[in-house]
Amino acid sequence: MRFLLIEDNAQLADAVVGRLALDGHAVDHAGTLESAWAFINAASYDLILLDIMLPDGDGRDFLVDHRKAENRTPVIVITARSEVSDRVGLLDLGADDYITKPFDFSELEARCRAVLRRQGGVAANHKTYEGVVLDSTSGGLTINGNTEILRNRELRLLEVFFRAPGQVFSKSHLMDRLFSFSDEVSENAIEVYVGRLRKRLDGSDVRIETVRGLGYRMVGKT
């Protein structure tokens, strides 16, 4: 997905850009509203991440102008303010959602997905492997023309495999992707989700292999 991050704090922006890039997203960073408009006019984005306090204006004004320009790109506001005071204003001004600093990237991703899903019309985010189609936005898994909606963790796990078919992922790596930092889970928990994915993939040419001692990988039948 292609993101535009409007955030004046350089360190935070760097980290966000770096972290989203790890998940394969393309992120442009604008430090001011002025450069943000330049980016928006030059390219199209799937999603805009917007900070409120910016050096050359208020993010809320940007939100209003953005909606006035009938730009449909969804906006998620990254707010540092108290949720109680800001909530009403942001959603009323046309934000699609908001996330409070500091945020968990999996939560940000989940919110992005929810926003995109709600908006519908956006070109589906498809990945295909060996005839199996995965739609990251809706969580739909299509096998032989039948579409099932995956549960959140199944989707996130399958996304990891789809990004690099054939590559072996360690249990701990997969764990990190699936569970939040506050969850205390044993590594065996990952087996549950791999098991579920295998069931989902039944009847297709794709399967998830156990590589003893190393982890798992996704391979085609051939």
């Binding site: 972290r19 790890l22 540092a80 108290s82 005071s85 009403v88 500091p102 963790r153 969850d183």
Partner: protein, 460 residues
Amino acid sequence: MKGLIAKGSIRRRLVLQLGAVAAILSIAFFLVVQVVADRAAQDTQDNIIAAAATAIADALYADRDRVMLELPYSAFSMLGSISQDRVFYRVVERGQTLTGYDDLPIADSGVSKNTRRFASFTYRGEMVRAVTVVRSVSLRDERRAVTVTVAQTQRGRAVISSRITATATAIAAVFFMVATGLSFWAAQAALRPINRVARSVARRGPNDLRPVVGETPTELVPLVGALNSFIARLRVSLLRSEEFIADAAHRVRTPLATVRAQAELTHRRLNKPEHKKAIREMIRAIDESSRSAGQLLDHAMVTFRTDSLEKTPVDLVGLLAETCDRLAPTADLKDIDILRDFPEGPFEIQGDPVLIQSALRNILDNAIKYSPDDSQITVRAFEDDGFWLQVRDQGRGFGDADLGKLSQRFSRGANVADIVGSGLGLTIADEVVGAHFGRLVISKNKKGTGACVSLVFAQP
């Protein structure tokens, strides 16, 4: 209002003062009429008796060396015209009574020719009014001074006088009543602008901090001006505290966000399990502090807003649905389903939607936090002697904690040491429902595990 003692009404004071003035004027009017009327009656009687005396004096004539008198009866008929008054007369020449009542006193000292002298005195047991005139009659060789005195009782005058008194009293009374009525009206009219200003101040809600505008009487301008400047200062200080809370949040959260994002990035890049573990610990600590900071600030904001509660119509079901939408992605991360059991119609109450949503978010957030993966949270809205908004999870419940104490600040369940939390969530919810005259109901699920938290609002 404490400390404000209502003492003395301007209206009453105005009415009393105007009434007193009216009373004084009425009495003065009465006295003046009395005196003038008395005087007029006196003058009339004086003129008549003087005319009678003159007529008698004119009837004096000289017959050789004697003064003769032929009483003109017309003079007496003139006197009789007033009323049933008795008339006395005496004509004296050189100390000799020519005719009339011998004992009628004559006040002729200082009475010269062609003048007359009036006197009032008691004669034969009655007040009389007397006039004395002196006439000189020419005899053959000398001129003789003859004194004519005519006296009349004052019954007629008393009758007239009392009639005038009665009329004057009636007029004064009517005047007094009309004046008092007018003073009520005048007080009312004079106070109307004050009442208008007072009403426009009293009508405003607790959060209406606009200045008082509109027509204001000159006398009230300093007072209203002072009130307006007070309102302006209050508004500034309220805005400042709201800004302060927001600013504090910003200053705490932005660096935390940077640290967390960097840590997460580093965590992904590191390979050694012990390094990863260290970063995990760090992120958990960041989450804990940011959550506490967030809830402290939210709590400050909730306290601030409940102090100056602004009430608008709120649809509880709508708010609950919105909160569920908002938290669904968070629940989704743990594969938790939020099952909704809402009625058709709205549950409408008067309240602060921002506060109520904050309370709902806190209890739903708690439910998600303490729920196991792949579980369900049931969110219900129903009517049962009030509007119930209920969140039921399949988590670990509250353990053996005292359910009554859970809503106290920083108090947490007995079995949650391993989960990040500040213990303010239920406090916030409790304060919010308290401010709306509702209550927080915490219970254990009847079967199985899990907690059940309800916000109960009174039906309007």
